[in-house]
């Protein structure tokens, strides 16, 4: 059996207000799995990689919170899509999407931007590729971050919920990109596999719900 790409061991998380939102949770995500992390707002889904106790393993190697000095991350193996997008404000959308490829995968500027353009087109952002994040609406910034992650082709996707409701076309495009991803995908919303397994984060506990399709 393949080694789990993400393992939580006795993990405790503190929420924004400093109160524990998850206590001593243990779970693991297999390579290629598509999972939704469900739970009420404020349950702590956004701070999954910031445990105050316990251990997180990425591809079998312990992950130090905040340091991000991890072999999987250094080689661009993590597709991180925060709600805000986390795009650099002084770079265009194209440059933002191309940057990790240039920095971690040794792509030339031209080839990284070509790859970035491909994913921006897949997500319907071609006409906004030359814009900087402040000129985009929050949903486009989130989709831009999705394109940046897709361009890397990561082993593990951690995708926070979009900042607002996606229109049907955007939702379809995002779902297609996540469905076709070869890496494991953990989304904080009903993502690429609506009827599939879920991790449910509620009342300080993490439970696993197998396929809930009816």
């Amino acid at each position: 059996m393949d080694e789990a790409i993400l393992v939580l061991e006795q993990v405790t998380l503190l929420g924004e207000a400093g109160a524990p939102v998850l206590r001593e949770a243990t779970a693991q995500l297999s390579p290629g799995a598509k999972l939704c992390l469900a739970g009420p707002a404020g349950a702590g889904r956004s701070c999954l990689l910031r445990p105050t106790a316990g251990r997180i393993l990425l591809a079998g190697v312990p992950f130090e919170s905040l340091a991000f000095q991890h072999p999987l991350i250094r080689r661009g193996g993590l597709g991180w899509v925060p709600t805000s997008g986390g795009l650099l404000v002084n770079q265009t959308l194209r440059a933002n999407a191309a940057l990790p490829l240039r920095f971690t995968r040794k792509h030339s500027k031209a080839s990284a931007e070509e790859e970035a353009d491909r994913w921006l087109a897949a997500l319907g952002l071609s006409d906004r590729a030359h814009l900087r994040p402040h000129a985009l609406d929050p949903t486009d910034r989130w989709m831009g971050a999705l394109a940046r992650a897709a361009a890397l082709g990561p082993d593990l996707w951690l995708v926070d919920r979009p900042p607002g409701a996606l229109d049907p076309t955007e939702a379809q495009r995002a779902a297609r990109v996540l469905q076709e991803a070869s890496g494991a995908v953990l989304t904080a919303f009903e993502g690429p596999d609506p009827g599939g397994s879920r991790w449910i984060l509620a009342a300080g506990r993490l439970s696993v719900e197998e396929s809930h399709a009816t």
Binding site: W80, S84, G86, L99, P100, F103, R148, A149
Partner: protein, 273 residues
């Protein structure tokens, strides 16, 4: 029951503690800059050849903003300052019949002290504050975390180009500043006394040696590294609220200014005193 009022010795100690707050903050800023300098240097050495191009692009952007866009202001300040300084010095020297020393005095004043110091102040006002605000903003919006999570080292991508860009920019601006200030001084002097350009340049050559120029270059490079390090350090230390951004910018500007003044005074006393 209300808590008892603090005793006089306790209040005196509190007062002493408040007196020490400003130097403590200053030293904290310097400590943070020294730590960031070490980090930036280490990560600069760890850059791979394929990453150099990305960092060079960012460095050029910083040079464009810090040096190129500041050049008109720097030249104007230098021309005016050279002329005004010469006017003041002229009155003193002419009363002793020592006009022949005008160019030497101007050269020493501008090249040794005023050039690096005033360029440092211009760079703090224009670029240091911008770097502090930018770093605080990207820290608050989660861009630093997002960069790290996608495998881009924030020290290599954000800090190293700003420090290199700052060093190149301050050095370049000091060269232009000194040239313009000497030119401004010559223009004013030529209006007052019989002074030819070849004579002025010859006197400059006698007044300045390689040591002066090397010390000025060292000051420029030091200030060019110090200002981005201090300003980035204060910007990156914001917590969670956008109301901290203006506070961080003010603190960065004040501490940078004090540091540049102190460093300039220390180097001058140590090397010329």
């Amino acid at each position: 029951m209300p808590p008892p009022a603090p005793s006089l010795p306790h209040r005196a100690l509190q007062g002493c503690g408040r007196l020490g707050a400003a130097p403590r903050k200053f030293l904290q800023g310097l400590g943070s800059a020294a730590w960031l300098a070490g980090l930036a240097f280490r990560q600069l050495l760890r850059l791979r050849m394929d990453q150099v191009g990305v960092v060079a692009e960012q460095t050029l952007l910083q040079v464009r903003f810090t040096a190129l866009q500041a050049l008109p202001l720097t030249l104007l300040a230098a021309l005016l300052l050279g002329g005004i300084t010469l006017l003041q010095v002229f009155g003193q020297l002419s009363s002793f019949g020592a006009e022949a020393y005008l160019s030497q005095l101007l050269a020493r004043l501008v090249i040794r002290e005023l050039g690096p110091l005033l360029v440092g102040i211009i760079v703090i006002a224009r670029s240091g504050t911008a770097i502090a605000a930018e770093m605080a903003s990207i820290q608050l919006s989660g861009e630093v975390d997002a960069l790290s999570a996608t495998g881009v080292d924030p020290v290599q991508f954000l800090l190293v180009p700003r420090v290199l860009g700052g060093m190149i920019s301050v050095f370049t601006l000091v060269v232009f500043f000194d040239a313009a200030a000497l030119l401004g001084g010559f223009a004013v002097a030529a209006l007052r006394v019989e002074l030819s350009l070849p004579f002025f340049l010859e006197a400059l050559g006698q007044a300045l040696g390689g040591r002066e120029l090397a010390i000025t270059a060292a000051k420029a490079l030091l200030f060019g590294a110090l200002v981005p390090l201090l300003c980035a350090g204060f910007g990156l230390r914001v917590g969670r609220s956008s109301t901290e951004i203006p506070q961080a910018v003010t603190r960065a500007a004040v501490i940078s200014l004090v540091s540049v003044l102190l460093a300039s005074a220390f180097l001058s006393v140590a090397l010329y005193g």
